[in-house]
Symmetry: C2
Subunit: 248 residues, 2 copies
DNA sequence: CGCCTGCTTGACCTCGCTCAAGGCCCGTGG
DNA sequence: CCACGGGCCTTGAGCGAGGTCAAGCAGGCG
């Protein structure tokens, strides 16, 4: 059981909450749950009356194409709100599934709707989350659409490390990233075999190591340059954010 | 000069406005402008204090990778709100440029913030727009990540036709889609040469014709099946939408 | 008229896919 | 205790989809 309400913790990423807002958010009921690895949480076509906040673990949003091939379109780590979109979109259009065993906080839409309609700034903060998710996805389109295999995988690693670091889940130049090579392929649009070769390459050229779910980046600058990684699209600088400015 | 306020028209896509909401939205000042073809409207890294609504024309959001290759990550037609994200995201992370000469309505953020904080349902409707944009982008990740060239281009055409039709811009099985083969390549992650060959193929197999900016689909079912196109992700069925249900 | 942009086609090449086999690790059951 | 099986990783060999390079053509515009 986390000390602080997961929703409060999420909202605090973006804005300094007033006491009133804090207590309103604290009043939103959450149900904490542990979900095992490789489970569907929501499936494309589902209607749902709740969303979940990731407390810890790793989840993926993916879609299956007409040939049954799965494409991961987003990865979710702690503090992410992967299916918040169902608050305003009736039908889920993709699958949300756990990659590792994960702790999540389920939040019903009804109280969330009340909260957001009574507290516009909280609505804006949550809206902002979904906009950042979209920003990340834009970069993914570029990644799979333009980059060759080596920079493509390098980019995914760069991004995931930056995102993990931003929520305090990195240690030095390492972070946990328990993806199989199969899943790396699903996220990058590459075959497992080729992912394996790319990893070998990245390893042997001294960029990083990636074993048993642990990513260690040996030369961050070189990796970023290989990947063409520019962190701006992650919008991690919340102090520059319009929401903050409302209150100085 | 459109008869109805562009913002009202946009909001009405999603919810039935009350009189109060209508007049509040009508009170938001807009500046109508004509932008010539191939102009940057906003560039990655820009800060901006307004967003634009497309009245008519065709625009694209794109990013340039480390090798200077451009990837189009979204196309925008009438009724779209391409850079609404700048309402809550300080820095633009991609370029927004016109493809054809376009009529747009500029709306300042400040009055929009007031409107959304006073009318939560209008905020939700605008939030919803950005969520649909994200849903389309998820499908684009699948498109460039998984599909072979032929279905990939077929999918783009299927989507664009469906979206144009949804805003009344199709005539029978035709719609205007003034993209060069270069731009088709930028949107699909294919080379111009290959786009040209794919088009030849789609044409000769009787799926469609595409000349001088006019797309005509001869066999819709066959095209959709080739493309693996399932319209659900476009979330066009606004009657099923949670926002509508608030008011029955 | 001449240029520039966009379309078209051919020839060649290469990156990444497929197919196939083998190895490692770990959990399960005899 | 060992045998077996199933994930997952690894590597080789061959192939093909799509890229690159190059050239020619058509139409619109200064």
């Amino acid at each position: 059981m986390p000390v602080v309400h997961p929703l409060v913790s999420k909202l605090s990423q973006y804005i300094k909450l007033t006491d009133k807002e804090t207590s309103a958010a604290n009043a939103v009921p959450v149900r904490l749950a542990r979900i095992a690895a490789d489970q569907d949480v929501v499936r494309a076509g589902d209607r749902t009356s709740r969303s979940l906040l990731v407390v810890n673990g790793l989840l993926a949003t993916s879609k299956v194409d007409e040939n049954g091939e799965r494409q991961i379109v987003a990865l979710h780590v702690a503090e992410d709100f992967p299916d918040l979109l169902t608050l305003h979109l009736e039908l889920m259009d993709s699958d949300l599934r756990t990659i590792t065993g994960s702790d999540v906080a389920f939040i019903e839409h009804a109280p969330l709707r009340i909260l957001t309609s009574e507290h516009p700034l909280l609505a804006a903060a949550l809206w902002r989350t979904t906009l950042i998710d979209a920003a990340v996805m834009r970069e993914w389109v570029v990644n799979v659409g333009r980059r060759a295999a080596l920079p493509r995988v390098a980019h995914l690693f760069s991004e995931m490390f930056a995102r993990m670091a931003a929520v305090g889940l990195s240690e030095g130049h390492s972070c946990s990233l328990p993806l199989t090579q199969m899943q790396l392929g699903e996220a990058t649009g590459l075959s497992v075999v080729h992912v394996n070769r790319v990893l070998k390459d990245l390893r042997s050229q001294g960029f990083l190591s990636f074993e048993r779910g642990l990513l260690t980046i040996h030369d961050m600058a070189a990796l970023h340059s290989l990947a063409g990684f520019e962190r701006d699209y992650l919008h991690q600088d919340h102090h520059a954010d319009p929401l903050k400015q409302v209150r100085g």
